[in-house]
């Protein structure tokens, strides 16, 4: 199939769709640009919902099931919105042997969520990363995008609680 040449009407007049369109255009609306496009959607909207997947599929002339298959193959893509705050714990080898499983367990117990989940109040999402490449500072965790090395379970827990309470207060 030949790629289309003009843009499709986006699902809404949200300005962020323009960024998405620009990415697709840069790749000549070819299917090869699917992953790049999904990255842009994820960056702009925080996650990939059905509407955006349909729109991307239609624009790139890609089968829906293929777009869904690609979105669920890669771990950085998320089909659900993340919580207001995020905590990513590194599960790399160095972090593992330096005690990250303890922190993970502690968070899971305290907030009642497992890795990949968000608290019911939508405040905190717990995620894991395969290796953040900061092994020299193991164990490592990322709080709201801020990477923190040599984390200590107590401090980390205090920090997370502060994040949660700070917003509820």
């Amino acid at each position: 199939m030949t790629p289309r040449t003009e843009k499709l009407e986006p699902p809404s007049d949200d300005k962020r769709w323009r960024i998405v369109q620009a990415t697709m255009q840069r790749n000549g609306f070819e299917r090869d640009g699917l992953i790049e496009t999904l990255h842009t959607v994820q960056e702009s909207f925080g996650f990939l919902d059905d509407d955006s997947l349909r729109y991307v599929a239609a624009s790139l002339n890609a089968p829906l099931s293929q777009v869904y298959g690609v979105s669920t193959f890669y771990h950085l893509f998320s089909l659900k919105p993340a919580g207001k705050h995020t905590c990513v714990v590194c599960l790399g080898t160095a972090c593992y042997i330096k005690g990250i499983p303890l922190l993970l367990k502690e968070i899971e117990n305290e907030f009642g969520i497992k890795a990949g989940q968000t608290t019911p109040d939508g405040q905190l999402s717990l995620m894991t990363a395969r290796c953040l490449g900061s092994c020299g500072l193991a164990p490592v965790a990322v709080f709201d995008g801020q990477i923190d090395g040599k984390v200590n379970v107590h401090e980390a827990m205090a920090r997370l609680k502060a994040l949660q309470e700070g917003d509820n207060a």
């Binding site: 089968p63 099931s65 293929q66 869904y68 298959g69 193959f73």
Partner: protein, 241 residues
């Protein structure tokens, strides 16, 4: 992924028999021509191969890697063994793993007696499964007007995906997730019956080797698939080229 070869003839040995081959022929095609049996599951004549099930692995002298017959091309002077003790053991283990992955209780399956997985197990002499069952609980999709999809019997061979894409051109199916969480899904992981792309052609149902895709009207052990369907696909595909 066939390369545009100028047809040249290669001579090689399969299980000690001298055979001549065009260089665009795979070892599997050659074996079949010469009545040598190599078990397969993911291979489907007429669509491209993926080398996923690993049942067709053969030994080739000079390399200690086992090669998938369905995707290995004939080469001059090759000496191929298709059925050593070791290969048989690995093939039985592959089937073991497939049986353990989902839920294959043959006695209650529509394809009982007509299932390629079951048939191969008999043929390769499997009497019991040597690994614990994993038994995931997956929900059956009966939303389609004519067909039912039961992921509990799916072996992820992706024949349905390839036939629907390459022959029917609908690309209704694809695989989601990865590893053992892989699942065959239609469109945006929605009930098959709500799919806009499915033309209800039934090709996927015909080529499914197990009881994962079947006709609604079929009861236990009644689902026989039309095998003459496969050469038909091949002709169609060649017509398309």
């Amino acid at each position: 992924m066939k390369r545009p070869f100028k047809t040249r003839i290669k001579t090689l040995k399969i299980d000690g028999i001298d055979v001549g081959a065009r260089e665009d022929e795979t070892l599997l095609e050659l074996a079949q021509e010469n009545d040598i049996f190599i078990p397969t599951l993911c291979h489907l004549e007429g669509v491209h191969d993926i080398g996923g099930c690993r049942l067709c692995l053969v030994e080739v002298k000079g390399t200690n890697k086992l090669l998938p017959a369905c995707m290995t091309y004939a080469e001059e002077g090759m000496e191929v063994t298709t059925n050593s003790e070791r290969l048989q053991m690995y093939r039985r283990q592959v089937l073991d793993l497939l049986f353990s992955e989902r839920n294959h209780v043959c006695s209650v399956c529509v394809s009982n007696g007509h299932c390629e997985l079951q048939w191969l197990a008999g043929k390769l002499g499997i009497s019991h499964v040597g690994v614990p069952y994993l038994y995931p609980q997956l929900s059956v999709d009966a939303s389609h007007r004519f067909y039912i999809y039961d992921p509990n019997r799916c072996i992820l061979c992706t024949r349905c995906v390839r036939v629907c894409d390459e022959i029917e051109g609908a690309h209704t199916w694809d695989v989601m997730g990865r590893g053992t969480d892989c699942l065959i899904i239609s469109d945006l992981n929605q009930p098959w019956g709500t799919s806009d792309t499915c033309t209800r052609c039934g090709k996927c149902v015909q080529v499914c080797p197990t009881g994962a895709l079947f006709h609604k009207t079929k009861a236990v052990a009644e689902m026989e698939k039309r095998r003459d369907f496969l050469p038909y696909l091949r002709t169609m595909r060649e017509g398309r080229k």
